[in-house]
C-alpha cells in the first residue's frame, strides 16, 4: 500500500438519503472515513446511524446520493469479506444453529478456509461455546459472534454498530485493543456507539449526526486540543439540534 493509498478515504458518502414513506431516516448525509483510522459515528437514538451504516455497506438501497468504497461506486462493487466486514444486527445467526455451523456456512460461501472459522472463534473467545445453539447465547456472546462474523474475512474495513452492547468490562477492553491494533496495522474501522467515554479512548475521527444529517466531522485530536470532550461535543450538538 502506498502513502497515497493511505491519504485517500476508504468510504465517501455524498448526499446520502433514505426515506421510508414519509420518514427521512437519512437526509443528505455526507462524510468520509479515513483509511487506517478508527472513525466513531455518534448520534442520539433515531438519528439514523444504523440506517446510514446499512446504506454504506449496501444492505439498504439509498433513496438518493452515493457511496464510494475505495473510490468505486458501491453499486458497482461485489461483496467481498476480505474488503468489508460488518456487524450490524445482533449476530445474524439462526437461533437453532450452532455458532460453528453459522460461521462454517459463511466461510464456504465466501471462499474462506475452514481453519479461519476456528481462528475467529478463538479470537472472540467463543471456542468453547461454538458447538452450542446460538439461541442459548447471552447478549454478550451474540455480540462476540457478530464480531467473529465480521472478522471472518480479515477485512480491510470493519463496520460495527454498537459493538460494546452486552459486552462485560473485560470484553470492552478486549474490543478496544482489537480495534486499535487493526488501525495500527493500517486497517480501517467505522463504529457507532452510545458509550462516549469508551469511544473517546478508541476513535481517531468523530462524526456526529442527528435527524439523518451530519452535525460535525473532525478528528479527536482537534477536539481535545480545544480542551473539549466527546461528551461535551455530543450534547452541545444534539441538544441544539433537538431544540
Amino acid at each position: 500500500m502506498t502513502s497515497q493509498d493511505f491519504q485517500s478515504p476508504v468510504v465517501v458518502a455524498a448526499g446520502l438519503s433514505k426515506h421510508y414513506r414519509r420518514v427521512r431516516a437519512v437526509d443528505d448525509l455526507s462524510f468520509t472515513v479515513r483509511r487506517g483510522a478508527v472513525t466513531g459515528f455518534f448520534g442520539p437514538n433515531g438519528a439514523g446511524k444504523t440506517t446510514a451504516l446499512k446504506l454504506l455497506v449496501g444492505l439498504a438501497r439509498p433513496s438518493g446520493g452515493s457511496v464510494l468504497l475505495d473510490g468505486a461506486p458501491l453499486r458497482a462493487t461485489i461483496s467481498d469479506p476480505s474488503r468489508v466486514g460488518v456487524a450490524i444486527e445482533p449476530c445474524g445467526a439462526h437461533p437453532g444453529r450452532t455458532a460453528r455451523a453459522h460461521l462454517r456456512a459463511l466461510a464456504v460461501m465466501g471462499g474462506l478456509p475452514s481453519s479461519r472459522v476456528e481462528e475467529v472463534l478463538e479470537l472472540v473467545g467463543l471456542e468453547e461455546a461454538a458447538g452450542r445453539r446460538v439461541g442459548g447465547y447471552s447478549m454478550g456472546m451474540r455480540q462476540r459472534l457478530g464480531l467473529a462474523t465480521a472478522l471472518l474475512g480479515d477485512p480491510d474495513l470493519l463496520v460495527l454498530d454498537e459493538p460494546t452492547n452486552g459486552l462485560d468490562p473485560r470484553g470492552i477492553r478486549w474490543l478496544r485493543t482489537l480495534i486499535r491494533s487493526r488501525a495500527a496495522a493500517g486497517r480501517t474501522v467505522l463504529l457507532s456507539s452510545h458509550v462516549l467515554s469508551e469511544a473517546a479512548l478508541t476513535v481517531d475521527d468523530v462524526v456526529v449526526i442527528d435527524h439523518g444529517r451530519v452535525l460535525h466531522q473532525g478528528s479527536m485530536t482537534a477536539l481535545t486540543d480545544r480542551g473539549r470532550t466527546l461528551e461535551e461535543l455530543f450534547f452541545d450538538l444534539t441538544d441544539g439540534a433537538a431544540a
Binding site: G58, R61, S79, D80, V86, H102, M109
Partner: protein, 239 residues
C-alpha cells in the same frame, strides 16, 4: 456459485426445522400408507393402490417457505449477502436452489417410508399387485413434486419474507381457492401448483392431464415465481 449453493445447503440442514420437517413428512408418509393401504376399505385398482405411496407436496412446500422466510425473521440473510462475492439475485437463486435439493432428500425419505409401509399392506388387497414400473412412476412423481414444491415454497418465502403470512396464504390457496376452482372447473384446478402436484404424486385419480404435463405445469410455476422473486430481490433492502 457452487460455493453459494454449498453454503446455503449447509445453512438449510443445520437447523432443527429441516429435521422436524423430514420426520414429519416421513410420519405422514407412513400414516398415509396405513390409512389408504389398510383402513380405507377394498383397493382393487392400480390408481387406488398407488395413492398409498403418494406424498403431500404441500407439506414440503411449507418447509421451503418457512426456511427461506426465516432468513429474514432471524436476520440471517444479511451476513450471507456480505460474504457472497456475488450479487443478491445470484445469492437468492442459489438459496432457492439449495432448498430444492433438500426437497429431493425429503422426496427420497417420503418415498422410501411410503413404499416400505404400503407394499406389505397392499399385498393383502384384492386385484392386481403394483408392478415395479407402477411403483417407480409414483416414486418419480414424489421426487419431482417434492423438489419443485420446496423450490416454489422457497420462492414464495423469499418474496413475502414472512413465515406467518406465507403459510396462511398457502393454506388459503390450497384449501379454499383451489377447491373453489375445482368446483367450477375440475380441469382448471390441475393448472394450479397444488392440482399439478396431486396429479404428479398420484394423490388424485384425475386423468384429465398426464403426470408429464403436471410436471411441466409445476416447473412453469416454479420458474416463473423464482424469476420474479430474484428480480424483486435486487431492488429491495436486505436489512
Amino acid at each position: 456459485m457452487i460455493a453459494l449453493l454449498r453454503g446455503e445447503l449447509a445453512k438449510a440442514v443445520t437447523t432443527r426445522t429441516f429435521w422436524a420437517f423430514l420426520l414429519g413428512n416421513a410420519a405422514f408418509a407412513a400414516l398415509n400408507a396405513v390409512l389408504v393401504g389398510a383402513a380405507s376399505g377394498t383397493l382393487d385398482s392400480v390408481p387406488e393402490k398407488q395413492e398409498a405411496i403418494s406424498s403431500l407436496p404441500l407439506l414440503v412446500l411449507v418447509w421451503g417457505l418457512v426456511g427461506v422466510a426465516g432468513e429474514h425473521r432471524h436476520r440471517t440473510a444479511a451476513p450471507s449477502a456480505l460474504v457472497a462475492r456475488h450479487g443478491r439475485g445470484t445469492l437468492l437463486a442459489m438459496r432457492i436452489g439449495a432448498y430444492g435439493l433438500t426437497g429431493v432428500a425429503l422426496g427420497v425419505v417420503v418415498s422410501v417410508v411410503g413404499v416400505a409401509v404400503a407394499l406389505p399392506l397392499l399385498a393383502a388387497q384384492p386385484g392386481p399387485d403394483l408392478s415395479a414400473a407402477q411403483v417407480s412412476d409414483v416414486v418419480a412423481g414424489n421426487l419431482v413434486a417434492a423438489a419443485l414444491s420446496v423450490t416454489l415454497g422457497a420462492a414464495i418465502g423469499a418474496l413475502l419474507r414472512s413465515q406467518v403470512l406465507g403459510v396462511v396464504a398457502v393454506l388459503v390457496v390450497g384449501f379454499a381457492v383451489v377447491p373453489l376452482i375445482s368446483s367450477v372447473n375440475e380441469g382448471a384446478a390441475n393448472l394450479t401448483p397444488f392440482g399439478a402436484s396431486a396429479v404428479l404424486t398420484g394423490a388424485t385419480h384425475d386423468t384429465t392431464i398426464t403426470a408429464y404435463a403436471a410436471a411441466w405445469i409445476l416447473v412453469g410455476w416454479t420458474v416463473a415465481l423464482t424469476t420474479a422473486t430474484v428480480l424483486v430481490e435486487r431492488a429491495r433492502d436486505l436489512a
